[in-house]
C-alpha cells in the first residue's frame, strides 16, 4: 500500500523493502566471477567508406577510379597480403596483431538502398524490408532482459538510437551519466537542490489512487534509482587520461558503467560525420584518428581493469561508399554506396580478416560493390554466441550466425 508508506529516499536498500521496489533492485550485485557479457556498439553515422578504412593494396583499378583519394601503399597498415588499414588506425592495427580485432569486409546485404534513412532502418532493425517497424534489433532483444531501466543504455546525443528502441521498452538515452538524475534549482551543488529532488521522490512514493497514477509513479521512481546508480558510477570513475573527443568522452562514460558493475548488457555510442561527399581524405584523417584514439583508450582501460574478456565492441555503419570518387581535386569525396567494413574488438573476439576482398571489376548498376557477408549473420552471432539470445526471434529465419566471437 503505497499511500501508507513514507518513502525514505536515497538508498537502494530503502527502495528494496517496499512493495514498490521491483525484484531486480533487491537482487544482490553480481560478483566478478559471474560477470556479464556486454556489448558496446559504436555507430559510425553517415556511411563509413570501407575502401578507405581498409584499402586494397594491389588493385590498379582503385587508383584509376580514385585518383585523388587512394592512399600510397606504403602509408597503409598492412593486414596480410592484399589490404591495409587507414594509417590513422594504428591502435586497431596493433590489436589486430594481438588477435583482439576482427575485421569484416564486404558487409552488407543483397537489396542495397542508397538512402541514409532506409539503410539506417535496415541496420537498426536487422531487417531489410520496406516497412519500418519502429523496433530495433537490440531493442527487441532487450525486451527479454530483466526490467531494469539500465539493462541497455545509449550515451551521447540523448536521443534514442533506432537499434535500441524496443516494441514497448525505450532504454534510456543520456547525454552524460547524470542524465537520469532528478534535479533541483541551481544545479547539483546549489543548496536546496538535493532537498527538492528528495521531496520529488517522496511525493512520487506517496502517490497512489489508481493504476495509471501508480504506473507512472513507479516508472519515475525506477528512473530516480537508475539515475542514482549512474551518478555513483560517474563519481567512482578513476582519474585517467582519455583523448579529447566526444566519442572518447562517451566511451569513458561506458567504461565507468562497466567499472561500476551495473547490469547494463548493451551500451551504444555514436560517432557522426562519415557522410564524406567532399573533402573525404581530410575528414577521414580526423574521424578515423578520433575513433582509433577513443577505442584504443577504451580497450586499454578494459585491459587494465581485467575486463577485456567481458566486452565485445562492434562498429556499425549504414552503408559503405561509392567505389569511384566524385568531386574534383582537393574536395574529392564519395557518394552513398553499399557493402562496407565492420570492426569487432575485445578479448573474446574471433580475430582476423574476414569476408571476400572487394571486387572492383564487378560493380552493380550504381557503381557499387557486392556484399559478401550479410550483416544480419554478424548480428546473429552477436545475439546468439555472445549475448546468449534467440537470434531467430529477433532477426527472423535465414541468418545462420557467422561467428564474430570465439566459441
Amino acid at each position: 500500500m503505497l499511500s501508507r508508506r513514507t518513502f525514505l529516499g536515497t538508498s537502494v536498500t530503502a527502495l528494496g523493502g517496499m512493495a514498490l521496489g521491483p525484484a531486480w533492485l533487491r537482487a544482490a550485485p553480481r560478483s566478478r566471477t559471474n560477470a556479464l557479457r556486454r556489448l558496446v556498439v559504436i555507430e559510425l553515422r553517415g556511411g563509413l567508406d570501407g575502401l578507405a578504412a581498409l584499402q586494397p593494396m594491389h588493385d590498379a583499378r582503385l587508383e584509376r577510379v580514385r585518383p585523388t583519394l587512394a592512399l600510397e601503399r606504403s602509408k597503409l597498415l598492412a593486414l596480410g597480403e592484399d589490404c591495409g588499414l587507414h594509417p590513422r588506425l594504428e591502435q586497431l592495427a596493433a590489436r589486430w596483431r594481438d588477435k583482439q580485432l576482427g575485421v569484416w569486409r564486404g558487409v552488407g546485404h543483397d537489396q542495397p538502398n542508397l538512402s541514409h534513412f532506409e539503410s539506417r532502418d535496415y541496420w537498426d532493425e536487422g531487417r531489410v524490408t520496406e516497412v519500418r517497424s519502429g523496433a530495433g534489433w537490440l531493442g527487441v532483444y532487450g525486451e527479454e532482459l530483466e526490467a531494469d531501466p539500465l539493462a541497455m543504455l545509449a550515451i551521447g546525443a540523448g536521443s534514442l538510437p533506432g537499434a535500441l528502441r524496443g516494441r514497448t521498452r525505450r532504454p534510456p538515452a543520456v547525454r552524460t551519466l547524470g542524465g537520469l538524475s532528478f534535479r533541483g534549482p541551481g544545479g547539483a551543488r546549489a543548496s536546496g537542490a538535493a532537498d527538492r529532488a528528495a521531496a520529488l521522490e517522496r511525493m512520487l512514493a506517496a502517490s497512489s489512487g489508481d493504476p495509471e497514477r501508480e504506473f507512472f509513479a513507479r516508472a519515475a521512481l525506477e528512473t530516480a534509482d537508475a539515475g542514482r546508480r549512474l551518478s555513483a558510477a560517474e563519481k567512482a570513475r578513476p582519474a585517467g587520461e582519455w583523448p579529447r573527443s566526444s566519442l572518447a568522452a562517451d566511451l569513458a562514460a561506458v567504461a565507468a558503467v562497466i567499472d561500476a558493475d551495473l547490469p547494463t548488457r548493451v551500451l551504444h555510442v555514436v560517432q557522426n560525420g562519415y557522410d564524406t561527399h567532399a573533402d573525404q581524405n581530410r575528414s577521414l584523417e580526423r574521424l578515423l584518428g578520433e575513433l582509433d584514439a577513443a577505442l584504443g583508450a577504451f580497450l586499454v582501460h578494459l585491459e587494465r581493469s581485467g575486463r577485456l574478456d567481458e566486452v565485445l565492441v562492434m562498429t556499425t555503419s549504414e552503408f559503405g561508399r561509392r567505389v569511384a570518387e566524385s568531386g574534383d581535386g582537393g574536395s574529392a569525396g564519395t557518394d552513398h554506396g553499399t557493402a562496407g567494413v565492420q570492426f569487432f574488438a575485445g578479448g573474446r573476439v574471433r580475430a582476423g580478416l574476414f569476408g571476400a576482398p572487394p571486387d572492383l571489376g564487378r560493380l552493380d548498376a550504381t557503381g557499387n560493390l557486392a556484399a559478401s557477408v550479410d550483416f544480419r549473420r554478424l548480428y546473429a552471432s552477436v545475439l546468439s554466441q555472445w549475448l546468449g539470445a534467440d537470434a531467430e526471434r529477433v532477426l527472423g529465419p535465414g541468418f545462420p550466425p557467422e561467428a564474430v566471437v570465439l566459441a
Binding site: 538512402s115 532506409e118 543520456v174 542524465g179 537520469l180 534549482p185 511525493m203 495509471e212 504506473f215
Partner: protein
C-alpha cells in the same frame, strides 16, 4: 446506456468544474480555473462548440505567428539548411499550440500528423514538410475522404512512401499497404493481393519535382488494366482518366464499415480512452457515417456524449510529450517557447514533430513512461517553474498571477498547494503526496528574515510547488 447520446445536464449529472476541466484537457491542452469558469458559464453545448467551431482563419494569431517566425529566423545557430528550417517549423507549431484560442484544431493536427506519419529525414525538403502540415491544418476537421484524398496527393507522402516512383512496370506497394493498414482499414482487414491491386491503381500518382512538388498524374506510368480491390472491380482507364481510379479506390475504402470503425477507434483512443469500449467505437463509427465522414461533426458528437463524461475515463490518458509540454506552457503562461530549447527537449523526450519513429506514428499510453523521457520531462518542469510568468490572458481568460499567489498564501503552505492543484491539475493530489509537498514547503522553504528575503522566499515556494506538481503523476494524465 446509449453511449453516444448527448449528455444532458440535469438528467445525466451536472455541468460542473470536473466535467468542464475534462473537456478542456481532452479537447485542448487543459484550462486555468478562470477558463473553466468561462466554460461553465457557456453551458455544455456551447462549451463544446467553443472548441469545435474553430474559424478557418485566425488573423490575429497568424500575425503574431509571423512575428514569432521572423524572431526565430534571427536566433543564433539557426541557419537556412533544411534541418534548421524544420526545427523552426516545429517551434512555430509548438508556439501555435500554446497560443491558439482553438486548441482542438491543433490537437487534431497532431492526431492526423501521427496518423499520416511522415518523417522529414526521408522527405528531406522543407517545402514538402510545410506543405503537408498546411494540408493537415486546412483539412483536420474536414470530411475524412477529402483529407485522405489530399494526403494521397501530398508530395511529402508521395516521397515518404515511395509512390512517386511507383510505375506500371514496377509498382511500389509501400503506399498501398499503409493506405489500407494504417490510414483507412486497419491491420488484417485486407489481403496481400488487394495491396498489389491498389499499388497498380496508384501507379502514375507522382510529382515531377521531388524537391518542390506539386502532385501530378503521369498517365504514361499508369497501369491502365482492370483491377479488383476488396472484391470490387475497378475498371482500368487510359490517359488522364486513369487518375479517377485512385479516387474510386479511396471512395471504396472510406465507405467500408471497417474504415469507419478504424477512424472512430482512433478518435476514441485520442479523446476518450487508450482502450475504448467496443460499443462506443461502434456507435461513433455509425455517427461518422451519418455525418458523411465529417471529422468535425464526429468529434462534436463525441465531446457531447454521455460516454465522454463518464468518470471512469477521467485522468486515464497518458499525455504525450507534446501535450505535456504545451499543456504546462499554457497553464503557466509561458510565452517564448523557443528560448527553452523546447525543440531539443522534446526530441530527447522521444517526440520530435515531423520525425515520427515509423509510419505507424508515435507510441501512446503507458509506453511514454520511460526513464529518459521522465527525466527530461522533470527537467523541463524545473525550467518552466523558474520562468518569470507573464500575467497576460490566455485563451480568453487571465492566467494565474503566480507572484500574487505567493504573497496571498505566504504563511499557509497547504492553501498554496491546494490552490495550485486546482490550477494545474484540476484535481486533488493523492493525500499522502499532498502531505509530502506541504511538509517540504514548510521545512525546506520557510518564510523568514527581512521583507525582501521573505518576498524572495515566497516566490521560491510557488516555483517549488509548480515544479513538483508538474512532475506529479496527476499532471501526466489527462
Amino acid at each position: 446506456m446509449a453511449l453516444l447520446s448527448a449528455f444532458e445536464p440535469g438528467r445525466d449529472g451536472t455541468w460542473d468544474r470536473a466535467r468542464a476541466a475534462h473537456l478542456a484537457r481532452r479537447a485542448g491542452f487543459g484550462a486555468t480555473p478562470a477558463q473553466i469558469d468561462h466554460l461553465l458559464e457557456l453551458g455544455l453545448d456551447a462549451a463544446v462548440d467553443s472548441f469545435v467551431d474553430w474559424p478557418d482563419e485566425e488573423p490575429a494569431l497568424e500575425r503574431e505567428e509571423a512575428t514569432f517566425g521572423s524572431a526565430l529566423a534571427d536566433l543564433d545557430g539557426m541557419q537556412d539548411g533544411t534541418q534548421d528550417a524544420v526545427a523552426r517549423l516545429r517551434l512555430q507549431w509548438l508556439w501555435r499550440m500554446v497560443e491558439s484560442a482553438y486548441p482542438l484544431r491543433e490537437k487534431l493536427c497532431l492526431l492526423w500528423h501521427d496518423h499520416f506519419a511522415t518523417a522529414e529525414s526521408k522527405v528531406l525538403r522543407i517545402d514538402l514538410i510545410r506543405g503537408q502540415y498546411a494540408t493537415i491544418q486546412r483539412l483536420c476537421g474536414a470530411s475524412f475522404r477529402e483529407l485522405v484524398g489530399a494526403i494521397a496527393r501530398d508530395p511529402a507522402m508521395l516521397v515518404y512512401l515511395d509512390n512517386r516512383v511507383s510505375k506500371k512496370k514496377h509498382p511500389n506497394e509501400n503506399f498501398a499497404r499503409e493506405l489500407v493498414e494504417l490510414f483507412t482499414l486497419g491491420v488484417n482487414r485486407y489481403e496481400q493481393r488487394d495491396v498489389a491491386e491498389i499499388a497498380r491503381v496508384f501507379t502514375g500518382w507522382t510529382t515531377p519535382d521531388r524537391n518542390r512538388g506539386p502532385f501530378e498524374f503521369d498517365s504514361g506510368d499508369h497501369d491502365s488494366n482492370d483491377k479488383l480491390v476488396l472484391g470490387q472491380s475497378v475498371p482500368g482507364r487510359r490517359g488522364a482518366a486513369g487518375e479517377q481510379e485512385g479516387d474510386e479506390v479511396l471512395d471504396l475504402l472510406v465507405a467500408r464499415p471497417e474504415c469507419a470503425k478504424f477512424i472512430a477507434g482512433k478518435l476514441c483512443a485520442w479523446f476518450v480512452s487508450h482502450v475504448p469500449p467496443p460499443e462506443l467505437v461502434e456507435a461513433l463509427a455509425a455517427e461518422f457515417v451519418e455525418q458523411r465522414y465529417s471529422i468535425r461533426e464526429t468529434v462534436r458528437a463525441l465531446l457531447r456524449s454521455q460516454a465522454f463524461y463518464d468518470p471512469r475515463f477521467q485522468f486515464q490518458l497518458h499525455k504525450t510529450p507534446v501535450e505535456w509540454a504545451v499543456g504546462a506552457a499554457r497553464l503557466i503562461a509561458v510565452r517564448n517557447v523557443h528560448l527553452l530549447g523546447l525543440d531539443q527537449r522534446l526530441s530527447r523526450m522521444g517526440m520530435r514533430l515531423f520525425e515520427p519513429p515509423s509510419v505507424a506514428g508515435w507510441e501512446s499510453g503507458r509506453d511514454w513512461a520511460q526513464s529518459s523521457q521522465i527525466a527530461e520531462r522533470f527537467e523541463l518542469a524545473l525550467a518552466y517553474s523558474t520562468l518569470a510568468h507573464s500575467r497576460r490572458e490566455v485563451f480568453g481568460a487571465p492566467a494565474a498571477d503566480f507572484q500574487a499567489l505567493g504573497t496571498q498564501f505566504a504563511g499557509d503552505s497547504a492553501a498554496l498547494v491546494d490552490r495550485l492543484c486546482a490550477h494545474l491539475l484540476q484535481r486533488e493530489l493523492a493525500p499522502a503526496a499532498r502531505d509530502v509537498l506541504v511538509a517540504y514547503l514548510d521545512e525546506s522553504l520557510p518564510l523568514q528574515g527581512d521583507e525582501s528575503a521573505r518576498e524572495r522566499q515566497s516566490r521560491e515556494r510557488v516555483r517549488a510547488a509548480v515544479h513538483l506538481l508538474l512532475c506529479s503523476p496527476e499532471f501526466q494524465l489527462a
